[in-house]
Point group: C2
C-alpha cells in the first residue's frame, strides 16, 4: 500500500475541463474595458528606424495608445532567465530603434477592438535606414559583415574544451571518420498561440495572465526590463496549450505590459499563428563537424565536435544551448581524447532559443548519423558500435555520477523486440523499388540545469481543516501532466486520497517559488520539493494524532486518509478529524502547512533508444515510417499512461523534425516564407507512425520516487533513428544529403541520385 | 529608528486606487458568458410553500436556471462561523420550503441579463400555507405561539450566571435602582451592497469573488452547506466597501453558489439596497432590565441584568452576541454580587447578527443610561459615580488580566478638556427653550473572541529575490485600514521600506489561514502573526548576511533595506543583494519565506469615554450635537490618522444609532417599511457633529506593538453619551422615553411632556 499512487495510470487531474472545453485558456479571458493589442512589424530585416509617424494611428477613434521605442523603457535585457546574474548577452529592448529581423515589433497599438487596432496599424508610417542583412552563419561571419549587435563580430558567444590529447589520438587511430551535419530551423508549434492579458490591480500594479512556462523567471525579467520592483509584477499562469520551451521567455508579455502601463486598462495581446511562427522562438539551426578516431575493433579513442549555431537576431538562450551539447557530447560516448568547440552567431532572422531537448536533438542527430556512417564504413553492426562506446555502468566524473543504468538492457530489448539482426540481414539485398530499412538512435539526457544553472523548486502543502489538501507549487503544468504526477507524489507521501489533493493555479504573488517548466525538471526536482513538504505535513499529522490519541507516534502511519496503527493495522482517526481538531480547539489552535525547497546536487541521466523501421519509395523519395519502438530508461515511471503520452508526443514531434519541418527564410528579404500551418507542415494524427513505448525501469536514488527526466528525452532520438533506417534501406554510401534534415522526398531522391 | 513606521500616519497603501476609482469592487467585475442572478422573495412572513411553479420562468428565453428548495442541498447549517463544532443552531437552509420572514429568498433565477432575470421573477407562481407571524419577543414568547423553528419554543438560546449573593446584597443595599431599556433594530448600511461573482474554475471547482469579511469561515460554511470538500471552494476577497460585521456570514454567496453549480457558468448576484436592508443582517433589538444596588457613597454592591434579544428568523450569531454582553457586564463595573440572564428569541423578522461592537453598543447604552439615571436620583456627578465603580488597575479574574490601564486618565482628561464641572453646573438652570447639556458614556472592550471562540491568524512573509516583500495575510482589509497598519508592522519589524511591502489580495487557495475581520482582531492578533513571520525573515536575512559577510550575526541588524553593523552603524549590504544571492547561487539556492500563526492567551481591554455636548430644542425636540470628544485607550496607536478615522467613523455610526436609525417592520405583514436610504436615515457628512479624538496611549504587552482594539470600541459610547447629554439638558427625572433609541424629536417631546 505504500506509494499507493506511484506507478499508477491516474487520469489527468486537469483532464475533464480540457476535454469538455470548460477550462479557460488566456484567449478565453475577457475583462470589462479591455483593449486589444496589435503589433506593427518591421518590413526589413536589418536597419534603423529613420522616422516613425504614429500621429494618424493615434488620431483614429477607439485607439488608446500607440507606442514606439520612444515611449518605453530603454533597458537592455536578456530574455533568457537562468541564471542570475545574466550570463547571456543583454541584447534585447522592449522596442528598439534598430531592427534586426524581418517582422520585428517596432510599434504597438492598443484599441477598443481588434478591428480598430488593425486599422491603426495601417496608419503608421515608417522610413528606414536599411542595412545589409545576413541570414546565414556564413554571411554573418564574413569579415566584412557589419555588426548586428555592437562589438560582437556577430558572435553571441563561444566556448571550447580539450580533453586529453586529441591530435595525438587521431594520429594514432586506426580509422578516422568525419561528417558535416546540417540542421534546419524548426518551430515549437504549440496548439495555443502566444497570448497574454495584462491589467493593473487595485493598487495600480501590473498583473499578467500568461501562458508562460516559467512565471517566476518571467516576473524577474519583466521587472528588470520595466525597471519595476518584483513585488509589483504579478504573473498568473493560465492553462497552457503546449510550450515545448518556446513559452519560457518573455516574448510578448513585455509588449503587453507597456501597453497596459500606458493605457492603465486591461490589454489582451494575442499572437496570430503567423506571428507565433515568425516572431517568437525556434530551435537553433546548427552545423556540426564531427570527427571520430577509432581502433580497429571500433573503440572511440578520439572525438571532436565543432558546432556553429545560428541564434538569429537576439541571443535568447543562445549559447547555453551549445553548453548543453558540450556536456552531453563528452559524457554519452566518452573518450579520453576530445576536442569541443562551439560558436553561436547572430544573424538577421528570428531568434532561436530553448526548445524541447535544448540542443540534444541536434547533437543526437549529428552523433547518431555519424555513428551509422562509421558503422557502414567499418562494416560493423551499428548497435555493436554503440555498445562498445556508450558510457559504462560505473561512469563517473566531477559533474556526473551514474547510479541508475540500463543501456545494455535497452539495447538488448530493442534488438530482440525489433528482430534487429534478422532485419538488418534481410534488408541488405532488396530488389523492389520500395526498400525497407531499420535504424536506431541512442541518447542520454540529464534533468534540470544542475552544474550549469541555478536550480530551485518549492512546494507548499496545506492540510485544510477538513483534511483536504492544497498542493501549492510553482512547477508548471504545460500539458505534460505534471499536475497529475505531482498530485500522485503528494497523495502517496501524505497517505491521503488523490481526490483530496488540489493544485491551485500558479500565481507568483502566492505560489511557492520555482523556476518553471524547462529542462525536464518538474517531476524530478519539483517532485522532491513536493515530497519533502508532504513528509513535513505527514509527520505533523502523526504527531498531532499521537497527542490526541495518547499513542506512541512511532507506531502511527497514514493511509487512505486515516491514521492507523502500524502493528495492528487498526484505523485510529481520520486525517479530517485530526485537521479539524488542530484548527479548531480552544487550547492551541494552529494550521497545518509546510513549505519545502529542493535544489539538486547530482544530475541523473535518462537514456534510451528509438528503433525505426521505414519503407522508402526510391522512385518518389517518399518515406513511410512503418513503426517506431521507443525503449526508455526514465527511472521509475510515476504514471505509465502519461509517460507513454509524453513519449508518443515527443516521437511525433521528432518525426516531424526528421521528415517534414523547416522554417524557410526568404533569401532576399529575410521574411519567413511559411508562417502558417498550411505551409509549415507538422505531423497530423494521420501522419503519425505506430509507436511502441517500452520503459526499462531503473531506480534513481536522487529522485523522489526513483524517477528520471522524460519530457525532453522523448523528443530526442526518433529523427536520427528514422534517418538511420532510411540509410539502411537505401544501402548507399554515407551521403551529405542524408546528413541533413528534414529528409524530404527531394533530398532522398538527390541522395539516391548521387550514388 | 526602531519601529520606524509605528505611530506614523502612513497614507493608506490602498488609497490611490480607491480615490481614483481604478480599484475594482466585485460589482465592477464581469466575466464572459456571465449570468445575472436574482432572488424571488416571499411575500409572507411565516408559512410553508404549498406550491411553487417555475415552469413559465424557466421557459423564458435567456433564463439559464430557476431553482427552488427542491433543487439545492437540503443541509441545515449555521451562518455563524466561530467556532467549530457549531455552537449556534443549525437552523438555515440555502432555500427552504418553510418561510420565516417577509422577503426570504424562496427561488433563484440566473439569466443572460438582469432584465430577463427580473422578468422571470414575475413568472414564478407560488401559493402558501400561511402561519401566524410574530415580530416581537412578546408575541413569539407567548405560550400559545407556534414554533418558528421546531422544538425551540422560539428560543434560539439562553444563558445565565450568578456571582456572590445578589438577593442578599440587593436587600442590604442603601439604594436599589432599576431601568428598562429598549433598543431598536438597525442596519449596517455599508456603502457597497452585498455582491458576489461565482464561477467554476478549470477543474470544475467553485470560485467566489465576494466582499466577505471572513473568507475562510465563508469557505468552511459553504463547503458544509453544499456538501463539498473545502479544497473545492475558493473565496477571493475583493475590495470591500464597508462591512461592519454584516458581511462576515454567508448571506448571498450560497445562493450564488447553487446558481453557478446549476448553470456551470459565471453568475453575478448583486443585492439592491432594498435587499441589503431587508434580507441581510441587522443589529439585534434588545430589551434590557438592569438593576443596581448601591451603598450611600455610590459603590455598586449588587448588579443584575436581564437581556431579551430578538434574533429574527434565523440565529445567525444569535446568542453569541449576548455572550459578549455577559462578559463585559461582569467586568467593566465589577461587583461581588451579580446576576445575569439572557435569552435570544426567534421572531418572524429578518435576522439579527454580528454588528460592530457585538452587543456592547447595546450594553453600553443600557448601562450608561442607567448610571446617569442613578446619578440623577442620588444627586451625584455621573463621572464620579463611574470613577468609583469601573474596574481598577489591578483587576484580574480567570479570563482577564489588566496590564494596560488608563481609565482615571481618560476620565480626568475628559473632565478638563470638556470643562465638565463648569458646564454641568451652568446647565442646571437654563431658561431658554433651547437647552444645552453635557453627558458622557464609558466603555470597555476586548479584542478577538479569546476564551469564547477559537482564534487563529497567520501571516506569510516572502522576501523576493530583489528584496521586495510579499506580505501574505488572511486578515481582511474592509476599509478600516488594516492592510496599511499590517504593512507598517511588517516594514518596521523587517527593517525594510514600506514601499517594498505588498499585500496580495486574500485568496483562500493561497493566503495564510486567518478567521477574518471581526472582533477588532486584525491589528491586535493578525498583527502578532505578521510580526512573528517578519521576525523569522529578519533573522533569516541576518544569518544569510552574516555568512556572506563573514561577520558575527549578533552585531547585525536591518534598517532602511540595509543590513548594518549595530556598533559602527555602517551599512554593510542591501537586503536586495542578500536576497538575490540567496535565491541565485550555485551552492545552495533557496527562498526566503516564513509563515507564522498567532493565537491569543489573554484579552486586553480597550477602554474609553465619549463626552457629548448637545443643544435640545424643547419646542421641536430637535437635538443638535454641538460636539463629541472621544478619549480612547487603544494602547499604542500604530497609525494616528487611520486610528482617528476609525474613531470618527464609529462615532458617526453611533450618532446615527442615537438619533436617527431604526428598521421599521410593518406590524401587519412583517415587511421592512424603510428598506432604502431615503426612508432609512443614516447620517450624512452634513449631519456629522464636530468630533475631537484624543488617544491616551498605554503599552499593552500582549500586542505586537502595544496596541489594542480600536475598530469596534469607536462605535460604542457616543449614542449613550448623547442620550446622557440630552438627559442633562432636559434636566428632568429619568423617563422611559429616554431609555430608548433612536432619540427622535418625537420621543424627546414625549419625554418632556411626561414630566
Amino acid at each position: 500500500m505504500k506509494d499507493k499512487y506511484i506507478g499508477k495510470s491516474i487520469p489527468r487531474v486537469d483532464g475533464v475541463g480540457k476535454v469538455t472545453g470548460e477550462a479557460k485558456y488566456v484567449g478565453d479571458l475577457y475583462l470589462p474595458g479591455m483593449l486589444y493589442g496589435k503589433i506593427f512589424h518591421s518590413t526589413i530585416a536589418h536597419g534603423i528606424i529613420e522616422k516613425i509617424n504614429t500621429d494618424k494611428a493615434k488620431a483614429l477613434k477607439g485607439v488608446a495608445a500607440v507606442l514606439t521605442y520612444e515611449d518605453v523603457p530603454n533597458i537592455k535585457f536578456t530574455t533568457c532567465g537562468h541564471p542570475l546574474p545574466n550570463d547571456t548577452p543583454l541584447d534585447s529592448l522592449i522596442l528598439g530603434k534598430k531592427i534586426r529581423y524581418y517582422g520585428e515589433p517596432i510599434a504597438l497599438v492598443a484599441a477598443e477592438s481588434l478591428e480598430i487596432a488593425e486599422e491603426a496599424l495601417k496608419l503608421i508610417e515608417v522610413t528606414y535606414n536599411i542595412l545589409p542583412a545576413y541570414f546565414t552563419i556564413d554571411e554573418a561571419s564574413d569579415l566584412n559583415a557589419i555588426e548586428i549587435h555592437e562589438n560582437t563580430k556577430n558572435i553571441a558567444d563561444s566556448s571550447s574544451y580539450i580533453i586529453g590529447n586529441p591530435d595525438k589520438a587521431f594520429a594514432e587511430a586506426d580509422y578516422v571518420f568525419e561528417d558535416e551535419i546540417n540542421l534546419p530551423i524548426v518551430a515549437h508549434s504549440p496548439i495555443e498561440n502566444f497570448v497574454s492579458l495584462a491589467y493593473l490591480d487595485d493598487l495600480g500594479d501590473l498583473v499578467i495572465h500568461s501562458c508562460n512556462q516559467s512565471p517566476n523567471i518571467l516576473r524577474r525579467i519583466l521587472a528588470f526590463a520595466l525597471n519595476m520592483p518584483i513585488s509589483k509584477v504579478r504573473i498568473i499562469k493560465t492553462l497552457i496549450g503546449g510550450g515545448f520551451g518556446g513559452k519560457q521567455e518573455p516574448v510578448h508579455e513585455q509588449l503587453n505590459a507597456v501597453l497596459t502601463l500606458a493605457t492603465r486598462k486591461p490589454v489582451k495581446l494575442e499572437y496570430t499563428r503567423e506571428e507565433t511562427i515568425s516572431i517568437t522562438r525556434t530551435r537553433h539551426s546548427m552545423i556540426f563537424k564531427i570527427k571520430t578516431g577509432l581502433t580497429k575493433d571500433g573503440r572511440f579513442i578520439a572525438r571532436e565536435l565543432n558546432v556553429k549555431s545560428n541564434t538569429g537576431a537576439y541571443s535568447g538562450h543562445g549559447h547555453s544551448v551549445c553548453g548543453n551539447i558540450s556536456g552531453q557530447f563528452a559524457d554519452f560516448y566518452p573518450s579520453k581524447n576530445m576536442r569541443f568547440s562551439a560558436t553561436t552567431y547572430y544573424t538577421n532572422i528570428l531568434t532561436a532559443s530553448a526548445m524541447r531537448g535544448y540542443g540534444i536533438p541536434q547533437l543526437c542527430f549529428a552523433t547518431e548519423s555519424h555513428i551509422d556512417n562509421i558503422a557502414y564504413k567499418m562494416n560493423m553492426d551499428p548497435l555493436e558500435l554503440r555498445r562498445i562506446n556508450f558510457f559504462p555502468k560505473d561512469y563517473k566524473n566531477e559533474k556526473l555520477i551514474i547510479r541508475s543504468y540500463a543501456l545494455p538492457e535497452i539495447l538488448e530489448t530493442g534488438r530482440i523486440k525489433t528482430h534487429w539482426d534478422e532485419k538488418r540481414k534481410s534488408y541488405k539485398n532488396q530488389s523492389s523499388t520500395v526498400k525497407k530499412g531499420i535504424g536506431v538512435a541512442f541518447f542520454s539526457y540529464k534533468q534540470n540545469t544542475y552544474n550549469h544553472g541555478v536550480e530551485l523548486a518549492s512546494a507548499r502543502v496545506t492540510v485544510n481543516e477538513d483534511g483536504t489538501v492544497y498542493l501549492g507549487i510553482g512547477a508548471c503544468e504545460i500539458g505534460q501532466g505534471s499536475d497529475t504526477v505531482l498530485s500522485q507524489i503528494a497523495a502517496s507521501t501524505l497517505g491521503v486520497s488523490i481526490e483530496n489533493i488540489k493544485i491551485p493555479p500558479i500565481d507568483t504573488a502566492y505560489s511557492p517559488f520555482d523556476l518553471g517548466a524547462y529542462a525536464s525538471r518538474q517531476t524530478t526536482l519539483a517532485g522532491i520539493a513536493v515530497k519533502k513538504a508532504s513528509l513535513f505535513c505527514k509527520q505533523d499529522l502523526i504527531q498531532l494524532a499521537s497527542k490526541m490519541l495518547l499513542r506512541d507516534s512511532s507506531r502511527l502511519d497514514i493511509e487512505d486518509d486515516f491514521i492507523f496503527d502500524t502493528l495492528s493495522g487498526e484505523k485510529l482517526i481520520g486525517v479530517k478529524d485530526v485537521a479539524e481538531k488542530t484548527y479548531y480547539n480552544m487550547d492551541n489552535p494552529r494550521t497545518i502547512v509546510h513549505e519545502a525547497t529542493a535544489n539538486p546536487d547530482v544530475n541523473a541521466q535518462s537514456t534510451g533508444a528509438t528503433f525505426a523501421e521505414v519503407a522508402v519509395d526510391t522512385k518518389t523519395g517518399r518515406v513511410e515510417v512503418i513503426n517506431l519502438v521507443a525503449i526508455m530508461d526514465s527511472g521509475k515511471i510515476i504514471n505509465p499512461v502519461l509517460a507513454e503520452g509524453q513519449v508518443l508526443g515527443g516521437h511525433v514531434m521528432s518525426f516531424g523534425y526528421g521528415l517534414m519541418e523547416q522554417i524557410l527564410i526568404d533569401p532576399k528579404t529575410g521574411k519567413v516564407l511559411n508562417d502558417n500551418l498550411l505551409d509549415y507542415k507538422i505531423p497530423t494524427m494521420a501522419d503519425t507512425p505506430p509507436t511502441e513505448v517500452i520503459f526499462i525501469e531503473t531506480d534513481e536514488p536522487s529522485s523522489p520516487y526513483g524517477n528520471k527526466s522524460l519530457g525532453e528525452p522523448a523528443n530526442i532520438p526518433p529523427a536520427a533513428a528514422i534517418r538511420n533506417a532510411i540509410f539502411n534501406a537505401l544501402n548507399i554510401k554515407p551521403n551529405e544529403k542524408l546528413n541533413q534534415l528534414p529528409l524530404t522526398p527531394q533530398r532522398i531522391l538527390q541522395a539516391i541520385k548521387e550514388v
